[in-house]
């Protein structure tokens, strides 16, 4: 008889289509007036032996039905959730909410790369003003007044300040002068910054950036200059066997002076850097002229060292294939998006200079 009840109740449980129907089944079977409860109530009228046996049977039935109800409940809940989630479907192909991330200008990124490399060689960064005087920009750097080398600089002048001829620095070399005037050797600095020359065409802009390097101590010689710049250029351009050529040249503030070419190929109108037999000029350098050391209060019989200067836009153009110098200063968002760098791409020698 209990077997028939069990089959009946189980089929009711399985037939319950929702939680309410299932609750009805539970009340019918296990509620105060439920059928199993009813049988339980009848136990009192039985002999102790019968009662024990019947009680065990009823308890087993009760547990089985309760478990079936719980199972059914979970199934229904799952089905219900499934149905809800189906109804909540969205079009995930819709575009995300607008976010804008800006870009770092190639000049800043290039300077950061250079600082990362030179920092490894023990250089620190020095700075100086854009508005300079004739002494720091020319005289202290061994440009005699009237010397044709001054002509090569296309200087922007400001009104004289007293007896000082004021100008916009034509190179970052006055930072050399300011550093030497303020600090005793050993000196190892780089100085990136804005520079100005009165020239505006395809390959010249009235403002551009240079980076200056200066090493002064008692022993640094031209071999070190070569070693330093070879290391730098190979790391910066990421070409391990990049050849460098040092050609004698002339700058008033260095003696000996050299211009430095890096190896390249121009085959088919495309510029490639590397050991291809052709050469491309990228920077000027030399051993600091004794007159410059003396003008900056440094004993030229004791101290010596080297200096170099390099155009930042020029090497950025070479490294990143940027064709036109003038576009650097146009603040064209399309250009910045294309040639700029994501802000968290911070160059470091540990993590790599270039992604």
């Amino acid at each position: 008889m209990l077997d028939a009840l069990k089959d009946e109740l189980l089929s009711q449980v399985n037939a319950a289509g929702d939680l309410a129907a299932l609750e009805e089944v539970r009340v019918t079977a296990l509620g105060k007036k439920g059928r199993i409860t009813g049988f339980m109530k009848e136990l009192g009228g039985l002999s102790p032996d019968e009662r024990r046996e019947r009680g065990q049977q009823l308890n087993a039935l009760k547990d089985e039905i309760a478990a079936a109800i719980d199972g059914r409940k979970a199934d229904l809940a799952r089905a219900h959730l499934e149905a809800r989630l189906q109804a909540e479907r969205i079009d995930v192909t819709l575009p995300v909410r607008p976010e804008t991330e800006g870009r770092i200008h190639p000049i800043s990124q290039t300077i950061d790369e250079m600082v990362a490399i030179f920092a490894e060689m023990g250089f620190s960064v020095a700075e100086g003003p854009d508005v300079e005087d004739d002494f720091h920009n020319f005289t202290a750097l061994n440009f005699p007044p009237g010397h044709p080398a001054r002509d090569m600089h296309d200087t922007f002048y400001l009104p004289d300040a007293g007896d000082k001829k004021m100008l916009l620095r034509t190179h970052t070399s006055p930072v050399q002068v300011r550093t030497m005037l303020n600090k005793k050797p050993p000196i190892r600095i780089i100085a990136p910054g804005r520079t100005y020359r009165s020239d505006y065409d395809m390959t010249h802009t009235p403002m551009f950036h240079q980076i200056e390097g200066l090493v002064i101590d008692e022993a640094t010689h031209m071999g070190h200059l070569k070693g330093c710049l070879i290391e730098f250029c190979r790391a910066f351009f990421d070409v391990d066997d990049l050849p460098l050529r040092f050609r004698p040249s002339f700058f008033p503030f260095t003696e000996p002076s050299a211009e430095v070419d890096i190896g390249c190929s121009r085959k088919g109108g495309e510029l490639k850097l590397g050991n291809y037999g052709d050469w491309l000029e990228i920077l000027g350098c030399g051993m600091v002229h004794p007159n410059v050391l003396e003008a900056c209060g440094i004993d030229s019989t004791k101290y010596q060292g080297f200096a170099f200067g390099m155009g930042i836009e020029r090497v950025a153009m070479l490294k990143y294939g940027i064709p036109d110098l003038r576009t650097f200063f146009e603040a064209d968002l399309r250009w910045l998006k294309h040639y700029g760098f994501v802000p968290l791409d911070v160059p470091s020698m540990a993590q790599g200079l270039t992604r």
């Binding site: 920092a119 044709p148 020239d199 009235p206 070693g227 200063f329």
Partner: protein, 798 residues
């Protein structure tokens, strides 16, 4: 500086190939800019003879030629007006590449007549711009010979870029000397036997300005016959791009390029009385050989006769006394002029000349007479006549100086060992004299007269290294001062990078704009500082140093909008200029936003930029740069280029750290930019540096185990009461418990009294010792209400 290979070989005995010479020149610092070997390009072009010329049967302007190329007779159709039988010209066969027109000739049929090649114009051979007719050669031109050989164009032309210190290499001989010293051959001796004068010069020379012209050598020639130069001279000058004029002028030019010894030839019959070297007089002018008239001033050196200025010393001759074909009597000048004065005069008058190029660099003071003698021989040889005695005014400037060279310095400075004997060999080959040696081995060296650029030991070291070869210097790693390097950047410098990357993360792109701007634009931003207007601006719109970066960024926003990109976010970290002194420029981080802050989107409501976008940018910069942002005060006195009611300044005490807000519509209107545009300027230098403290540890963090709780308060206050006052009051009500106060609603309108507004604050309380009881919370609420009421006169909204 251009010269041909054969010209070089006039001075240098060498077996070196062209490639070896070119490579060595660059290694010596005589950078080769280009080598033009026209014999290669002109190989297919031959001297040809036009045997006959008939009118084209079907075209009036064309002729049908029969051309004898030396090997065959070909039919050629030609349109040149001067094409005629008997003419000798230059023929290009089919298949030849025509450099002047960048085409390769094909056999063609022109209006029904077959044409096998072409008779060429000068332009087609890139000899000149002449294209009115085909080249006409003299009757004796040998048919069939390569034109390049016939015309002397078979000689490779080398173009070097000279550094300003090397006046000696502005002459071919100087170049040959460097090559010889570098082991590429032997410098040939230079014949300079003096020519004995046949008579006394009728002209004397007086130097009235010995500083401007320390030495002047003159010579009178009579009975010369001027005319075209002989072929060798003509070809030499043509090869290096000089235009032959007449034998007399060509000889002076030849000596200029050969020995870097500029000369000037006067037509003596046009010079009155004699030569006076003096400074120009106020108001004096000179009609120069280039056809222009120049106003002179007393800073300039003139060569005058007894009446007027006839030439600008060291720069250019005068038209009136120039030599012509008719010149019979000549006065030839070789002089030394002050380099600085020459450079300044040339710059002032804008005259570039071969004489100036050399004299402003400084020519050999000991070769004035020998240069004159070389020229004398050539004049007598080519133009005949006879030469006077030399007239020498002034004297050879003192150029001998004894320098010292410690041979050890070459290794110490150059990083390469060069044996002592090799050092002396190099110096001697360059023309130095070794006049002695000290007991410690120091050499006493007299540099040659033509090397005014050698002043000291470093210069001598350079000469040794240069000739020995920079390539021979071994690259040496820069020794490390310590195993680990110290940071390259100071705290201030590091802030700049952090600022840039913070702003870029916030959606602004970094611009780099000119440090200049137009004067009127500067006026919109407080005006240009005194002494910051350029004397020689490159253009009127870049004529002052910018007082603010914003003007440039706003204009950039306008340009981007014009290109169709109206939603703009740009920043720049760079200088703004107050005074023309080292402390007169500030590092400013400036930025602008224009158009929509939130663009139209299916999920978001579009929103135009407002002052709070700019404020947020400014605060982010301040935070990144390490400013104590919680202590900043906001004031509403931003300068006039901001909207007066929608802008502010962020101050630490009295110091302005930043300003922000909407850009004033008048400024936008003047710059032609559509608004709204908001901007900010942060003064990075004004942000205090962190106090130097011991160690890097931060104060211990107190993390409360108790739940924070939020309570909301809506206050009714006067409509002009600043929200900041409510926030500060609420925060100050219980500094220990009130952790944060935010404004979640500001309302004016229905249910709020006229002239008042409702400001709703959410206050976060953070208990640290125990959970707060309801009465305690109630008590804090009352303290907050009281504090706000006291600070603002506001009351809880009922």
């Amino acid at each position: 500086m251009k010269f041909t290979l054969s010209w070089l070989k006039d001075h240098l005995e060498t077996d070196a190939t062209l490639d070896q010479i070119v490579e060595k020149l660059t290694a010596l610092g005589l950078e080769v800019e280009g080598v033009e070997d026209r014999s290669k390009e002109l190989k297919p072009f031959r001297v040809a003879h036009v045997v006959s010329a008939e009118k084209h049967p079907d075209a009036d302007k064309l002729r049908v030629l029969v051309v004898d190329t030396g090997t065959e007779k070909l039919q050629v159709v030609c349109g040149a007006p001067n094409a005629r039988a008997g003419l000798k010209g230059v023929f290009a066969p089919e298949g030849a590449y025509i450099p002047g027109s960048d085409i390769t000739l094909k056999k063609g049929v022109i209006r029904g007549v077959e044409s096998n090649g072409m008779m060429c114009s000068e332009r087609e051979l890139k000899l000149s711009e002449e294209h009115n007719g085909i080249i006409e050669l003299p009757d004796d031109a040998p048919v069939g010979v390569a034109y390049a050989d016939y015309a002397g164009l078979g000689d490779p032309v080398i173009d070097i870029s000279l550094t300003p210190d090397r006046a000696d290499c502005a002459g071919v001989r100087g170049i040959a000397r460097d090559l010889a010293a570098a082991g590429l051959g032997r410098l040939k001796p230079l014949a300079a036997e003096p020519v004995k004068g046949a008579f006394a010069s009728p002209f004397g020379v007086t130097i009235e300005a010995p500083d401007a012209c320390p030495m002047y050598v003159g010579r009178y020639f009579r009975g010369v016959k001027n005319g075209p130069s002989p072929k060798w001279l003509h070809d030499k000058l043509v090869a290096i791009g000089q235009r032959p004029i007449s034998a007399l002028v060509d000889i002076t030019n030849f000596i200029t390029f050969d020995l870097s010894r500029p000369l000037h030839a006067f037509d003596a019959d046009k010079v009155k009385g004699g030569i006076v070297v003096r400074l120009a007089r106020e108001g004096e002018t000179l009609a120069a050989l280039n056809g222009k008239e120049y106003p002179l001033d007393p800073s300039m050196t003139v060569i005058a006769d007894h009446e007027r200025a006839e030439a600008l010393g060291g720069i250019i001759g005068g038209e009136a006394s120039g030599c012509t074909e008719a010149t019979v009597n000549v006065f030839l000048e070789a002089a030394i002029f002050d380099t600085v004065r020459t450079a300044q005069t040339g710059r002032k008058l804008g005259i570039e000349s071969d004489a100036r190029y050399r004299l402003e660099r400084g020519v050999d003071p000991a070769a004035v007479v020998s240069g004159m003698e070389r020229a004398t021989r050539l004049i007598l040889e080519i133009c005949g006549g006879e030469a006077s005695d030399l007239v020498i005014a002034g004297e050879e400037p003192q150029w001998r100086r004894t320098l010292t060279l410690r041979p050890g310095r070459v290794a110490a400075l150059g990083g390469v060992e060069v044996p002592r004997d090799e050092q002396t060999r190099i110096l001697i080959d360059l023309g130095c004299e070794i006049v002695g040696e000290d007991v410690d081995g120091t050499l006493r060296v007299v540099p040659p007269s033509w090397r005014a650029d050698i002043h000291g030991e470093a210069d001598l070291v350079e000469e040794v290294l240069r000739i020995h070869g920079f390539d021979a210097i071994p690259a040496t790693p820069l020794p490390r001062e310590s195993v680990l390097t110290r940071p390259a950047l100071t705290t201030k410098q590091r802030r700049v990078g952090l600022t840039k990357r913070t702003l870029a993360v916030r959606g602004l792109s970094e611009a780099v704009t000119w440090s200049f701007m137009a004067g009127p634009v500067a006026e919109l931003f407080g005006g240009v500082g005194e002494g910051l207007t350029l004397v020689n601006p490159i253009s009127a719109d870049l004529d002052v140093m910018r007082p603010s970066i914003l003007g440039n960024l706003i204009q950039a926003a306008g340009r981007n909008a014009d290109r169709g990109y109206a939603d703009v976010g740009l920043f720049e970290v760079g200088p703004a200029f107050r005074k023309p002194s080292p402390d007169g420029q500030d590092i400013v981080a400036a930025g602008i936003r224009a158009g929509n802050a939130v663009p139209r989107h299916w999920a978001e409501k579009a929103r135009g930029v407002d002052a709070f976008d700019a404020k947020a940018d400014a605060m982010a910069v301040l935070e990144a740069a390490g400013a104590p942002v919680t202590n900043l005060q906001v004031t509403t006195d931003a300068p006039g280029w901001y909207h007066p009611g929608r802008s502010g300044m962020l101050r630490l005490g009295p110091t302005v750290m930043a300003r922000f807000g909407e850009i004033h519509p008048t400024v936008l209107g003047t710059l032609g930019v559509k608004g709204p545009v908001v901007g900010f300027e942060v003064f990075l230098d004004a942000i205090p540096l962190p106090k130097k403290k011991v160690g890097t540890a931060r104060p211990l963090v107190q993390l409360s185990p108790f739940q924070p709780l939020e309570r909301d308060f809506a206050f009714v206050v006067g409509k002009d009461v600043e929200a900041d006052k409510l926030i500060r009051a609420a925060k100050g009500a219980d500094k220990a418990l009130v952790r944060d106060v935010t404004v979640f609603d500001v309302y004016q309108g229905t249910n709020v009294e006229e002239g008042k507004k409702s400001v709703a604050l959410s206050v976060t309380l953070q208990p640290t010792e125990r959970t707060l009881t309801e009465p305690e919370i109630e008590a804090i609420g009352q303290k907050i209400v009281a504090a706000v009421a006291k600070a603002t006169g506001g009351s809880l909204r009922s």
